[in-house]
């Protein structure tokens, strides 16, 4: 449980970091339409539902992965992180887990005031979610890929892994 909360906090921090890197105009408002990491999910799900999405959402973008040892029947639960206040507005995420594995991340609140906010949120937040799912739903220890530079590392899955377990 504790780890899940930490993960939710880390994801929020990632969203905040991402937003803070982008130029913004206007004061941030908070959106109520959640962004989901589940590509099939309708984005109109009301926030703060204690959802019990089935574990079938676990595939994510890593569908080419070797079959993982069939996960034991584990309880699915979701945890809603505290809203983090940023200078652009509140950001809040909900993490759904099957056992210890993240199966879904919903961004419940995000800055949505200006047109620019909306386009950044619509593009950047789902992207971030996909990355989190790709690394964590596959339950990997390490990543092999084309050699990254020190800068490239900060955007890499390996960096996400190292941070998740630090």
């Amino acid at each position: 449980m504790r780890r899940a909360v930490v993960t939710a906090a880390a994801t929020t921090a990632g969203v905040v970091l991402l937003l803070s890197l982008k130029p913004h105009t206007g004061q941030g408002g908070a959106a109520t339409r959640p962004i989901s990491s589940d590509p099939g999910a309708a984005a109109a799900e009301p926030p703060s539902t204690a959802s019990t999405a089935g574990p079938s959402a676990a595939a994510g973008p890593s569908s080419g992965a070797a079959p993982s040892s069939a996960a034991p029947a584990t309880a699915t639960r979701s945890i809603t992180g505290d809203a983090a206040d940023t200078r652009y507005g509140p950001v809040q995420v909900k993490v759904t887990l099957a056992g210890a594995r993240i199966t879904r991340i919903d961004v419940l609140r995000y800055p949505n005031d200006s047109g620019r906010d909306r386009s950044i949120s619509g593009y950047a937040l789902p992207q971030l979610n996909q990355e989190a799912i790709a690394a964590q739903s596959a339950d990997i220890d390490v990543v092999s890929g084309a050699s990254y530079t020190s800068d490239g590392y900060t955007r890499s899955l390996q960096s996400a892994l190292d941070k998740a377990h630090a």
Partner: protein, 249 residues
């Protein structure tokens, strides 16, 4: 969570980041990691072609004799020559016309780091140097980055004592040139090799990437203990017959 989380450490060195995960940390692990990181910084200081004052840079400019360099320099150059011979000239320690043994040094540094951890008693660890991975013990789950979908995985390899190296254009563009033509190699989006020791596996991945897909897969298939997954710029995937696990998209 059944098993304890491994001890993790990251180190920015050699223009990239080394990541360590040790599942069986003991009283000597912290000291071993300190020795390893000191060694990695030393390797960078001696071998970096980006540092004008490194031994390799001075050797390349003719300002330093080989026998005035660390003993490891001659050994590294010997290994580069061996890989060049084995790969029919698709590997070089003079990639842009000047001395640069980086194609061997990073994988070798990962292998040396793993060796030092073993010497300190660890039989369960993995070390990644910028995406070139040596695992000891296991099973370890090694994700292979998808070169065409940033942030996603192409596949996951599970096994014991694996060395996994990927060459590709995803991070630094078409930076691998075929030493025989001087042209950038563009036939592959990425090439992942699975072997047992990362120094050779990494150098072979670089050389085979320069060969292009057909030649690379034939060359790798003919070498025992080495398998490959090739991802073409179109997304097509090809493997050697013994590549572990399903690789189909």
């Amino acid at each position: 969570m059944s098993a304890a989380q491994p001890l993790r450490h990251t180190e920015h060195v050699m223009g990239t980041v080394f990541s360590f995960a040790v599942r069986d940390p003991g009283p000597g692990t912290a000291a071993a990691l300190e020795r390893i990181t000191a060694r990695l910084h030393r390797i960078d200081a001696v071998f970096s072609p980006y540092r004008p004052d490194s031994q390799v840079s001075r050797l390349g400019r003719g300002e330093l004799a080989l026998d005035a360099c660390d003993l490891e320099v001659a050994e590294v150059l010997r290994q580069c020559r061996r890989v060049a011979e084995e790969t029919g000239g698709h590997f070089t320690d003079h990639p842009a016309g000047r001395l640069d043994p980086s194609g061997w040094v990073k994988g070798w540094a990962v292998e040396e780091a793993s060796r030092e951890l073993r010497a300190a008693g660890s039989v369960q660890h993995c070390v990644s140097g910028g995406g070139d991975v040596q695992t000891v013990g296991g099973p370890w789950r090694v994700g292979v980055a998808d070169p065409l979908r940033p942030g996603a995985l192409a596949t996951v390899l599970t096994g014991h004592d694996l060395a996994v190296a990927t060459s590709g254009t995803a991070e630094r563009g078409a930076h691998i040139h075929d030493p025989r033509t001087g042209r950038p190699a563009t036939g592959l989006a990425s090439l992942t090799l699975v072997g047992s020791r990362i120094a050779d596996t990494d150098a072979y991945a670089t050389a085979a990437f320069a060969m292009g897909p057909d030649r690379a897969l034939a060359w790798i298939a003919a070498r025992p203990g080495l398998e490959a997954l090739a991802i073409l710029p179109t997304g097509e995937r090809r493997t050697t017959p013994g590549f572990p696990g399903p690789a189909a998209a």
